[in-house]
């Protein structure tokens, strides 16, 4: 098998893993096993996987409220993810963070964020750190189209540009910010156009075509590693699920969503791989099956894990580990 083909199969496998993770997460939420609210990235897998497949383990990412896919694509452990979503002590954040705050510093995942545009200044800081330490790491900030209308986007792009920081700003333009459409809320036709104002390259690609995403990311990563500065990439995609699970989605029609099912990034790549004779029915079945069995195990692990002890709420606030009961007496 050619090397390319192996990579492609790996990309496909990773997209399927995210799709299944998100689908199962939706089911767990509907069954009342996950509290709060969750935002799924179904339909946007090509962006997570296309970009993260060009990164090394030591590279950094920041992600968003819609971040499960990025975490998985960067190598996140699905056991600890499910455990976090279910609020268990074995979760990534010991149950303190939940869906919107998953982080794994050992994998360069500097955290999801519940504040839209929260990742921009953090990624600039990671870029400064890379420069100061003199490594050839890169740092990727994933964000939504809506986030590009907040001030931190503009401040961060300007800073990253003047200091030539090794950053990829990756916009997942899924056409909506909650209930508000991209065209209504944004002054330009494409987020990539905004790069012009900051003197950096900007590329808008078909975000549901994994190979196109990957190609753009490869180029931007190379540029960043060579010290040539940041790039803005816009992956044009579509959010197939509601903004959050349970969203009545009155802001769009069923037909619109159905049209985009045709452009499903996984379906498209699956057909491509089959046409190229890289993937056959039997292999495909095995891929989905293996992933489901891994995810089922992960859910079982999460469900068997204990909830944190209530007094754990007082731990982890400061670098010094304080005995919770002592801290409470100070409170």
């Amino acid at each position: 098998m050619k090397e390319d083909h192996q990579i492609w199969l790996e990309l496909y496998r990773m997209m399927v893993k995210i799709r299944r993770f998100e689908t199962l997460t939706g089911e767990l939420f509907a069954a009342g096993k996950i509290p709060g609210f969750i935002h799924l990235s179904i339909g946007q897998e090509a962006s997570s996987v296309g970009v993260c497949s060009t990164l090394r383990p030591e590279d950094y990412i920041t992600t968003t409220h819609r971040g499960h896919g990025h975490v998985i694509a960067k190598g996140g452990d699905v056991k600890r993810m499910f455990a976090e979503l279910m609020g268990r002590s074995t979760g990534y954040c010991k149950g303190k963070g939940g869906s919107m705050h998953i982080a794994d510093f050992s994998l360069g995942i500097l955290g999801a964020n519940g504040v839209v545009a929260g990742g921009f200044p953090i990624i600039v800081g990671a870029g400064l750190s890379i420069k100061l330490r003199g490594t050839d790491q890169v740092a990727v900030c994933f964000f939504g189209d809506g986030a590009s209308n907040r001030g931190p986007f503009h401040e961060a792009l300007n800073m990253a540009s003047i200091w030539k920081l090794p950053i990829l700003f990756v916009c997942e333009n899924n056409q909506f910010a909650s209930t508000t459409s991209f065209h209504y809320s944004t002054s330009v036709k494409s987020v990539a156009q905004r790069s012009i104002a900051y003197g950096i390259p900007g590329r808008s690609v078909d975000g549901n075509d994994i190979l196109e995403v990957r190609e753009a990311a490869l180029e931007a990563v190379e540029r960043a590693r060579k010290g040539e500065g940041p790039t803005l990439i816009e992956n044009r995609t579509y959010r197939l699920r509601g903004h959050f699970e349970g969203d009545p989605q009155r802001y769009r029609t069923k037909e619109e969503v159905e049209n985009f099912l045709e452009k499903d990034p996984i379906k498209r790549f699956q057909e491509f791989l089959k046409n190229e004779k890289i993937l056959n029915e039997e292999m495909d079945r095995q891929i989905w099956q293996a992933i489901d069995s891994e995810l089922t195990d992960a859910i079982r692990f999460a469900e068997k894990s204990p909830y944190p002890q209530p007094m754990e709420a007082l731990r982890d606030l400061y670098a010094e580990d304080v005995d919770p009961l002592f801290q409470r007496s100070l409170a």
Binding site: P35, N149, S178, T179, Y251, Q309, L317
Partner: protein, 326 residues
Amino acid sequence: MPEVSFVESLRMTLREEMQKDPLVMLIGEDIGRYGGIFGVTKGLLEEFGPYRVRNTPISESAIIGSALGAAMTGIRTIAEIMYIDFTTCAMDQIVNQVAKIRYMSGGKMKIPLVIRTQCGGGRGNAAQHSQSLEALFFHIPGLKVVMPSTPYDARGLLKASIHDDNPVIFIEHKLLYATKGYVPEEEYIIPLGQAEIKKKGREVTIITFSYMVWKTLRAAQQLEKEGVDVEVVDLRTLYPLDLETILQSVRKTNRALIVHEGCRRNGIGAEIACRIQEEAFDYLDAPVERVAAMDVPIPYSEPLEKAVIPDEEDIIQGVKRVLSRN
């Protein structure tokens, strides 16, 4: 009129004010066709059009700053920030501009601006979607801070806030939206700065506001069964603070407990406890106590969140602490 929900009460008030005054404007995220994520502004875009119901991009700083500019130039503006957590994205506007601009100009202008926002925990929304930040605003001279607990109060207080020529932070607890209560059809105003005694009692004064009023009333019921008779004062507005009502009650009961959902350190309770001891020290039979959230961000996992946010049992224990001293 049948009982209406907190959301409907807010909505009918906004509609009424917009019908009466063509220069009332709403501005905020997803408040247009969608009607706001909790449905408060549903139908208002259709009724009043896009100049009066401005559905914005995600731009908190510009929402508040532009609301201020509109207010300074004659528009009674009601801005919505989806979660109180994101008012922090507009803190420069709120603290440096909104709160000070009248004063800095030597009192030259009016700022008829209401910032409606939504607060509180209890829904597993984690640290950036569950906060109770009223103490931040309470600390800033130039702002008024309103936190209703019932549909009835919400209507009267929102009206007063809209009519007010000063900036008002109007904070709605997310667990209140679905609650129902009696709301009369006819107009009424609840002036800012008037607390209300939600339950009369003799032994301990409990001072509280917003969603904690409900937890406190449930705790009071429980205490009554145990033969303890508490008085519950709902502040309704934090600033202006109705100190008179608080003091009158404390002079009667000689014991006070303050209950709030924001964390304890430097919370509203600290100021109120201080004011009580300054003004009614000789009446007190016990130190003023506080029941408040632990001094940590709101954690996600249910047992953790439950531990951090005070509940009925914590309030009962608080009352017992106050009563145990002589």
